[in-house]
Symmetry: C2
Subunit: 268 residues, 2 copies
């Protein structure tokens, strides 16, 4: 079982990319489970065709010890298993708490056993509390950071790299690469390439900003489902193949803020 | 003393807007203190001309009970007092913890007494732990949410509104308005106007996306300092005046995700 996590700034494209990669893997015959760990609770929306109505935290609050696997693991496009961790209301408790509760409950239920791939989709604006758990507690071993060339996104990516580096002694999480998701910034690919190298990893994909993504999203589908013969679908398939075969996992070397700004100015 | 907080999605323009508003207020003769409550620790960068070297959490870790006001309150452009809460390393503890520690320490030191305005600049991606404290514990009474017309930004703004509504019974925090910070989205001003009304508040400013902001940022200054006669400087001054005089504070009425998406589709 390969245990992958996609981290990145909120809104950068983690869920869209994750859902398309999950769909591509399932299309090839792999058994896949995607687990959303983001307060937006919509990681699996493009696979289920709707927002998940039963997060793990919802079910735990409602049914306590009576929670069953069927209540929290839903089946989506191409048979992809879909889980949404859930979390507390804004202003209440810890936004990452849903993740902690969900991952422990899934472990207890032995809900994920035969899958070839588990893909965690995790918010990376703040790498604290529950959001750090997939890295810290070894739920994920292959960490990919989704980023555009915008400074705000690189800043978050660098912080996630700090988290991976911090726990590399204790856990098994390593950085598999940077997944570029374009926002049409000037010299974006080159910028992301150099950023990845400075972090002791590499740019493993550069996903174009493409209208097909919005068109599919409005219909609550992945590009793999709506436009299977499109070039964008092939980009996601190539990324899926890369993740399957990638064994070049590293301990990242995060950079200073000054280096980040300088990098941004060089290419911008 | 008017206690204002700017909330909003990370990267949406809170610090830039806050620093320019603080500078505008100070220019008019007000005594202002700006307190950064964001793990980026750069809220006051445009007022100090550099990143704050001594956050409150840094000083508490280093000096414990020996922390003095002078160590944590720094003076910037036009005499604006600058404080940076600070926070733990990525992956460690609670990202909001710096805010909790900082606000209690400032209260203990009686560090902010004569100011006419205190302006909290707070991350709004996750409204939990320390990030909820300015709303929940009444450190701020006038909450403004900085937002563009992008769905991701509106989603965060709506969550912040949920936090304000939640604690309106217990604390004194109320919503003063939405500060539009343009990302050049189609029909953005109209979209933000309707969004604000649905939230039971109003759009109190619509700040153009302007090159002068980047030009000033590269020099680590506010537009008020670098281009005092520009139109953009006047936009910030008008917003500062509005905040001084605004007494129309409301309990927000957050919307559902479906309503948010529909709003976004209507104008997009
Ligand atoms: N390659 C892309 N091209 C165009 N739009 C994209 C692309 N990737 C993501 N998006 C859009 O960006 C928005 C945020 O994506 P999402 O996957 O929800 O981000 P996250 O999960 O990181 O918060 C969505 O509206 C999505 O359709
Ligand atoms: N009105 C604007 N026009 C152009 N650029 C802006 C504007 N407001 C903010 N920015 C830029 O957007 C980026 C993020 O702004 P910042 O204030 O740091 O966001 P936040 O504090 O919300 O994280 C900065 O590079 C800033 O210069
Ligand atoms: S640990 Fe992180 S997610 Fe949990 S309350 Fe603190 S800031 Fe929020
Ligand atoms: Mg997501
Ligand atoms: Mg900021």
């Amino acid at each position: 079982m390969k245990k992958v996590a996609f981290y990145g700034k909120g809104g950068i494209g983690k869920s869209t990319t994750a859902a398309n990669v999950s769909a591509a893997l399932a299309e090839k015959g792999h058994l896949v489970c995607q687990i959303g760990c983001d307060p937006k609770n919509d990681s699996t929306r493009l696979l289920l065709g709707k927002a998940c109505a039963q997060t793990v935290l919802d079910m735990v609050r409602q049914n306590g010890d009576e929670v069953t696997t069927e209540q929290v693991v839903h089946t989506g496009f191409a048979g992809v298993k879909c889980v949404e961790a859930g979390g507390p209301e804004p202003g209440v408790g810890c936004a990452g708490r849903g993740i902690i509760v969900a991952l422990e409950k899934l472990k207890l239920l032995q809900a994920i056993t035969d899958e070839h791939f588990v893909l965690y989709d995790v918010l990376g604006d703040v790498v604290c509390g529950g959001f750090a758990v997939p890295i810290r507690e070894g739920y994920a071993t292959d960490i990919y950071i989704v980023s555009s060339g915008e400074l705000m996104s690189l800043y978050a990516a660098n912080n996630i790299a700090k988290g991976v580096a911090r726990f590399s002694g204790r856990g098994r999480a390593r950085l598999g690469g940077i997944i570029g998701n374009s926002r049409n910034i000037a010299n974006e690919r080159e910028l992301l390439c150099e950023f990845a190298e400075k972090l002791n990893t590499r740019l493993v994909a550069f996903i174009p900003h493409d209208r097909s993504v919005q068109q599919a999203e409005i219909r609550r589908k992945t590009v793999i489902e709506l436009a299977p013969h499109s070039r964008q679908a092939d980009v996601y398939r190539r990324l899926a193949d890369y993740i399957v075969e990638n064994t070049a996992l590293t301990v990242p070397t995060p950079m200073s803020l000054a280096e980040l700004e300088e990098l941004s100015l060089t290419y911008g």
